[in-house]
Symmetry: C2
Subunit: 226 residues, 2 copies
DNA sequence: CGTACCATTGACGACGGTCAAAAAACGTGG
DNA sequence: CCACGTTTTTTGACCGTCGTCAATGGTACG
């Protein structure tokens, strides 16, 4: 139990894409039995900002966005979560972002108190909880680096990020709308659209359809990305 | 030991400003004896990006910046750390940012392995390590919200943030240069300077000197800050 | 086949970046 | 304490990128 080797549970086997790249997969695989798989429809709220953080979540299938809305209506998307990813794990008592299903999704829901109890007994479990938060921290730090770049760099980096997280080589299937991408990258929908067109014109990508993008020149997408 | 009430050690008493607002102050107060206070000169490197994260740090006096430099030379400052703040705590084996002293500083240096060993024995210590990373996560998330705002909003939010962290009401003593502020806010030094002048002209602040700013209208600084 | 919704394209303007110079602040040594 | 040189900050002029407003085009679904 709680070994490094992933323990494949019924729930994680049911996942589309639960894969080795998931956050601390072994840990959450092993505690999958503590939770239940819940279905969420497109745009359904999973939790709201400032609500009690009583549960921790893991994407089984579909995709999730977390976000905040500022006073004047601007929305900032904090992260996209794909199958295998863990989200909603807080060290405090409340969620700091809201979470919604981007598409129809199956989400494994685990009681936070169960994890905390386990962590109290098993130091390895505590280490894994810490590790999940640490990975999230690094992800958000990378996000900051995105936000100081030019529009072309942001969109390029975003596509590379999605390609890395998604299995399927150079073919990227985007689960989210242009508006979601824009709110993630701190751009407008028009700039995202224009930039994608530019990247296609420069033969860096191919827009097979609005949500299906083929990477043709990864170097061009990653230039200057430190 | 490890109680909620701060245990004032010799080291923390020596601090300029170690105060209740520090990250998990009680925890790090109690393990202060495990480390040593080290002096760092202005601009001295404390650790570099990708170096082994063998130590965890706490500011006793002075100030610290963490940063990354992108391929083309742009620098992004991840955070400023003031007396009482903990930094350099990683869940992985390497530091993800570099750290430098902004001014002459005294820093408490603690062996990470000692903390990990303690966390293995005491679940409360493990919880506190997790909590420190969680607070850092929230700080970085707030930083993201800064970066999507206009220049005036970024500078205003920055001043409010510094005023909150610094004791001293409406008088803010900035330890860092305009260049540091610019690299933290994702702006240029010129835009930061111009924006401060604008804020002074609109009577929102007073520039007593370049590094000493008096807040005159906090509402104007915080408008739209969601 | 029609109707929303979503994405793309266009025209234009504003915000902030760039390049350059002046002014202020700071530190050092006479 | 003042004079000097260096660094930091401020100010100015100009320009490019991206946001805004508006219209067109495309796609999915009933």
């Amino acid at each position: 139990m709680l070994t490094h080797t992933a323990i494949r549970t019924g729930f994680s086997r049911a996942a589309n894409n639960a894969s080795p790249r998931a956050h601390s997969g072994s840990f959450f695989d092993s505690i999958s039995l503590m939770g239940a798989a819940m279905p969420y429809g497109r745009d359904a709220e999973i939790y709201g900002e400032n609500e009690p953080a009583d549960y921790v979540y893991r994407v089984i299938s579909g995709a999730v966005r977390t976000y905040k809305v500022l006073g004047d209506g601007r929305r900032q998307i904090g992260a996209f979560y794909l199958p295998g990813d863990i989200f909603g794990l807080e060290t405090g008592d409340e969620h700091s972002f809201s979470a919604e299903a981007i598409s129809d999704a199956k989400i494994l829901v685990v009681k936070r108190s169960a994890l905390l109890a386990l962590a109290e007994r098993e130091s390895e479990a505590a280490r894994q909880l810490w590790s999940v938060t640490g990975q999230e921290l690094r992800r958000v730090q990378d996000h900051i680096l995105l936000l100081i770049k030019t529009a072309k760099e942001r969109v390029g980096s975003f596509l590379l990020e999605m390609a890395k997280r998604h299995p399927g080589g150079n073919d990227v299937e985007l689960p989210m709308s242009r508006q979601d991408i824009a709110d993630y990258l701190g751009l407008t929908i028009e700039t995202v659209s224009r930039t994608l067109t530019e990247l296609e014109n420069s033969a860096s990508i191919k827009l097979a359809s609005a949500r299906h993008i083929v990477l043709r020149n990864r170097r061009a997408l990653g230039v200057l990305n430190g």
